[in-house]
Symmetry: C2
């Protein structure tokens, strides 16, 4: 079904404090995150392109060693295999989009159009 209400999807918490809901098309994954103040990502990299857009709150994002404070309306484009990490300074809402699909998140979500 092409129409989805995010609130009706189960949340998955791959990292403590990062609770996400996921919608997949054939080539992209949209991840909708609710992040608790103080929660931090491990340093990581993945072969997927990623575009991150902060909706609310303040998130300190580090890409290839450069850290920026990201607030509402801030976007970062993460190339494939680029090392990145981040920490929620306040409670945050963040949207990530990935290409290709995050297969590791596919079985965590109630919804896929594939």
């Amino acid at each position: 079904m092409p129409f989805v209400m995010l609130d009706e999807l189960k949340q998955f918490e791959p990292v403590p404090g990062f609770r996400g809901r996921f919608v997949h098309s054939d080539h992209m994954t949209l991840a909708d995150w609710t992040i608790t103040a103080g929660a931090a990502l491990p340093v990581h990299a993945h072969p997927h392109e990623q575009i991150t857009r902060v909706l609310a709150g303040e998130f300190a994002f580090t890409l290839n060693g450069e850290t920026r404070s990201m607030g509402p309306g801030a976007v970062v484009v993460i190339p494939p295999n680029a090392t990145h990490t981040g920490k929620a300074i306040t409670n945050c809402r963040v949207i990530d989009t990935f290409y290709p699909v995050r297969e590791d998140y596919r079985d965590k979500t109630a919804h896929s159009t594939r």
Copy 2:
């Protein structure tokens, strides 16, 4: 530069009442829309996959002849070449993600990481 502030990008209004800002990665385009109440899209289709997420307001979206009222937290996944249209019932904020890149929007935006 990987970090972008949407407010610093110029807006492009491809359809009256649809003012967008665009960020491109190698394979995706993120479109951030501010839409005026009453503005309507023509019926159209494109070869790109699209995931649309409503941030604020109420948007009546029609995909393959099925219309849904989409509010905050609603998502729709649009397959390649699917006919779609829509109308803003109230002022709206909406995010679209496209695969592959919307080359027709690339020269309209001040930012591209490509």
